[in-house]
């Protein structure tokens, strides 16, 4: 496995040379990557806490996957488009999505309230694998437009088994669509280890569809940045898709509803703790002197501020007005929806009159 894995930074924070992939970020860029990861983790941790306090319905934690998400997202150009699954809070952060949107979704106050066109960050997709086709179709459109834009589609190791993902590979390949399929192999699909989905490393799936695949150390933010950037450059040339498998680990539960002690050993988690993506970059920053204690302290402060903001957003988030149920189901109206909306309003009125509570 190791030989197949692109790595530019060891768990100890030492740089490694790779014959094909390289990045040379400035000190400021390195600090930027670190900051993104720290903020993503803080946002995530706060959300987990809020869920425990009953403020959110659910939260899928990204813990452990910060490098895969931040590295890949930082490889995107502003005009590029990202199609997430449901765990890509780090990508959302890099794309400048207001966390209120994610929080409202997992609070159960919306099903995804943001405008994909605003940050070129598309809606979360909870049904496994579906978004791979949307991303591919989007990329097919980009190709038709002759635009210098690339698309990245995120999905998990479990998702790789869905027919939709295979069909996305076929459409992407046949239409030379500028899409990077970015698979975060966090080694678990809820309780199922990757062996329940595949016998061979997932990146190899690509070759059978006629495009390149590569496996990158998903806990190495530099490698994720370098490999994703190269992949985006590759697809931009019009030569069709590329698959990147980020080999990483889901450190937490699948979601706050899950109990991983039912199905996996703490020892495995421990092993991966040693490969922590944030610690790894911090070691590099320290070793190479790109950031000092003050900088780290300031970042901690910034993270705390973000945590407070997240709490504040959730605690002050109003419930939506029930009438929104009937809105936006159609653009051009629908007689039945109009009728039901009117009846619903009248029914609500009747309680206001009668004083009988709903």
């Amino acid at each position: 496995m190791t030989t197949e894995l692109v790595q530019l930074l060891t768990p100890e924070g030492r740089r490694v040379h790779h014959p094909e992939y390289a990045v040379d970020p400035s000190a400021a860029e390195l600090r930027g990557l670190h900051r993104d990861m720290v903020l993503a983790r803080r946002l995530d941790a706060e959300a987990v806490t809020l869920q425990r306090q009953g403020e959110l319905a659910l939260w899928p934690s990204l813990l452990g996957q910060e490098a895969a998400q931040i590295g890949s997202a930082r490889a995107l150009r502003p005009k590029d488009h990202a199609f997430p699954s449901y765990r890509e809070h780090g990508v959302a952060l890099v794309r400048n999505l207001d966390p209120a949107h994610l929080l409202s979704l997992f609070r159960g106050a919306s099903n995804g309230s943001w405008d994909p066109a605003e940050n070129n960050f598309h809606l979360y997709t909870l049904v496994i694998g579906s978004q791979a086709l949307h991303a591919t179709g989007y990329a097919m459109g980009v190709a038709k437009d002759g635009a210098d834009t690339a698309v990245i589609g995120y999905f998990g190791d479990g998702a790789s088994s869905q027919g939709d993902v295979a069909e996305a590979f076929t459409f992407g390949a046949v239409y030379d669509a500028p899409i990077v399929f970015f698979c975060q192999n966090n080694q678990w699909a809820i309780s199922e280890p990757t062996e329940r989905q595949t016998r061979v490393p997932l990146y190899r799936r690509a070759a059978g569809f006629g495009f390149p695949g590569v496996r990158v150390d998903g806990n190495d933010v530099l490698a994720c940045l370098a490999v994703t950037r190269a992949a985006l450059d590759h697809v931009r040339t019009g030569s069709g898709p590329m698959l990147v498998e980020a080999f990483t680990y889901r450190m937490g539960a699948h979601t706050t509803s899950d109990d991983p002690t039912k199905y996996r050993d703490e020892a495995e988690v421990e092993e991966w703790r040693a490969k922590d993506p944030i610690l790894r970059l911090r070691r590099l920053l320290e070793r190479e002197g790109h950031a000092d204690e003050d900088w780290f302290a300031a970042l901690d402060e910034e993270a705390e501020t973000l945590g407070r903001r997240v709490r504040e957003i959730v605690r002050t988030m109003p419930d939506p007005d029930p009438s929104v149920m009937f809105e936006n189901v159609y653009a051009d109206g629908h007689a039945l929806v109009d009728e039901e909306r009117a009846r619903f309003a009248a029914y609500q009125e009747s309680f206001a009159d009668a004083g009988r509570s709903n």
């Binding site: 309230s113 579906s130 179709g137």
Partner: protein, 326 residues
Amino acid sequence: MVTKSLPLAKALNEALRAALESDPKVLLMGEDIGKLGGVFRVTDGLQKDFGESRVMDSPLAESGIVGTAIGLALRGYRPVVEIQFDGFVFPAYDQIVTQLAKMPARSQGKVRLPVVIRIPYGGGIGAVEHHSESPEALFAHVAGLKIVSPSTPSDAYWMLRQAIESDDPVIFFEPKRRYWDKGEVDTEAVPGELHKAQVAREGTDLTLAAYGPMVKTCLQAAVAAEEEGRSIEVVDLRSVSPIDFDTIQASVEKTGRLVVVHEAPVFFGSGAEIAARITERCFHHLEAPVLRVGGYHAPYPPARLEEEYLPGLDRVLDAVDRSLAY
């Protein structure tokens, strides 16, 4: 006025051509729609004239077709998808009901998906299994979709153009056994509303409500009934979601009797919804329960039995008799 006499399939072809001409964002996608022009030739000549980028032969994967059409719509395109036959839409069912139907509401209206899914549907052409089904009820139950089905070449032309212009996802059911029926099409007429029903024939004793392929059968039944001195009104519903209940109600308030006819199985079919709602709206006007004529609760049979399975003139007239006997 530019009126031509066209077969229904050709009217659809002209509607697609006009849409491709008038809006560069319109795209056609589907299996065998390019060089072949589709198995029913509805897209004949369009790839030649508009190129492979706008008339795309797609890989053989219906979920892929609809899923990528959604992506193209997100990019600003207006894809018109062809599903080759009714029975082959189900691999795309998840993308249709979970993504296409819901994404606009999910995004609070920030995303609009102007995707049209054309499906040749229904039986009566002597085809093998999976080529004669009428699955409209399986889509009508799902909010976020609009469902229409024309019965004449003129409606085929205009309803398809309106469907393509709509910002909502529309499932466009084409009555395949009427593809070769000719009718006048005025390509400059100002069309009526896409989702309004039309009284296709006036009458006073009973209302027959149908859409797509069954409208013709109902009109024939009305003619036959006339010979027996019965005045039948025929309502062409045109739209299955929404259903224009106002027009049916007005008719039933006049006639007092309603029979709904469709090829799809009766159980959980369109007739059930119409019967339930019209009974609620017209409880004191109905002189007989709303009757339904449709397919049986059995898979569509082999072609040599389809005449027995499909609602034909006699089964419609039988229901008319039963209704009038109340």
